[in-house]
Symmetry: C2
Subunit: 274 residues, 2 copies
Amino acid sequence: MIFSKKLESIIIKNSSLLCIGLDPEIEKLPKHLLKENDPTFAFNKEIIDNTSDIVCAYKPNIAFYEAYGIKGLESLKKTIEYIQKKHPEIPIILDAKRADIANTSRMYARALFDYFGADAVTVYPYLGLDAIKPFLNYENKLTILIIKTSNPDSDVFQNLKVGNSNLPLYLTMAHEIKKWNFPNIGLFVGATYPEELRNVRKIFPSSYILTAGIGVQGAKTQKAIKAGVDPRGNNLICNNSREIIYADKSKHFAKKVRNKAKEIRNIINKYRYE
Amino acid sequence: MIFSKKLESIIIKNSSLLCIGLDPEIEKLPKHLLKENDPTFAFNKEIIDNTSDIVCAYKPNIAFYEAYGIKGLESLKKTIEYIQKKHPEIPIILDAKRADIANTSRMYARALFDYFGADAVTVYPYLGLDAIKPFLNYENKLTILIIKTSNPDSDVFQNLKVGNSNLPLYLTMAHEIKKWNFPNIGLFVGATYPEELRNVRKIFPSSYILTAGIGVQGAKTQKAIKAGVDPRGNNLICNNSREIIYADKSKHFAKKVRNKAKEIRNIINKYRYE
């Protein structure tokens, strides 16, 4: 199904803009799961089973699977297949942050869309349009271009003033990407930079924007949500990973995960229409 | 062994700056290999067996393995293990072009250095130093920062003029990276942009620079080599992939691969001291 239809439906059904980042680290899992055949999958499964009515998407970051090699990537494949089978209504954003020249991007697109079966992927736009096209050619999928990252040092390059306009790089990129005029482009802006989020939203009034770092911390979350939602209080995919998935480490961790996910979902809903 | 020692030795031993890009596509392999249990590995093995005395490095691009999923990544792992066992003197550059915030970069570094066993990796510097540090913490490995890509659209963002200095973005990045002052940083500049290669070499007179697109086409290769080598005609790692690995598709393809590799190695040697 075309990505936008899928996301639109689930946002309404679950009354949610919350995306859960499935970024498992074996060292941080509840101890009782380590005796499972595939602790990573067992962990993800518990989270999915207990949050599928609260989220609008799941976002595994592929680095957390690659770190464990082939075994880790098998856990990722199993996790995605599980979501597709049990909850085909929930889109899967595979956070891979890939970027290469066109001939190579074509192979990354195959890996992420065809092999892993992602509904959406994250990609850097620094190489320009020719390098992004192999992703955009998947018309039913969403390609999320990373405009502004959430880390402390992201200003060093991303906010350099550039070109004749003297606008910061991230904003110059947003304007250029707008001109590419593809309907299946989304944007990523870290929630730690609400001003940047607001500026990118102005340029893309109705596109999907993915943001990360949305949590229970009220003031920060309020700012980011208000800056990032579209005029209808919608189309901002709000990712939280660690605060939710590591909410507890006991045998009953899934209950705490569910409660934390609900709490954050509700906080987002409180601010999105403000 | 520390990367620089390893590369220094093999450059002298094989009298070569040629790096072969191991970027196999099943659709393009010699037909007789398709009956092999692992055609991708069989292809790589033939290339390695016939060029190990001609190259200074091998550079698999991970996208060409990811595209075939778990099976493809198993071929990559086997290829790297084969090089490490049969030719431990040849460094392996894993071209992965990764980049994420520090907490995630740490997982990518684990995957590329610890799990796959790369001697060097390629990484985007757009997130700033904090995101690169997890790679740089591997002191014996080389982290190659991508400054200027080889594709036609790379100018669109990478050559934007920046603020007060009025220098293009790629050069502004090079100056900033220079300040980071890590001994285990290398740079990547595409051979299609010899002027950019010369400018980056000026800033990093003795660092390793990886370049791609070096081939038999004389004038273009001459320009890039002369622009990229250090003052001693050294320390430019010259990658070629398709021209060498797909030199022939017959049963005897490996002989043609060897000849093509030798030809390009010799062209590079002709120009590097000019």
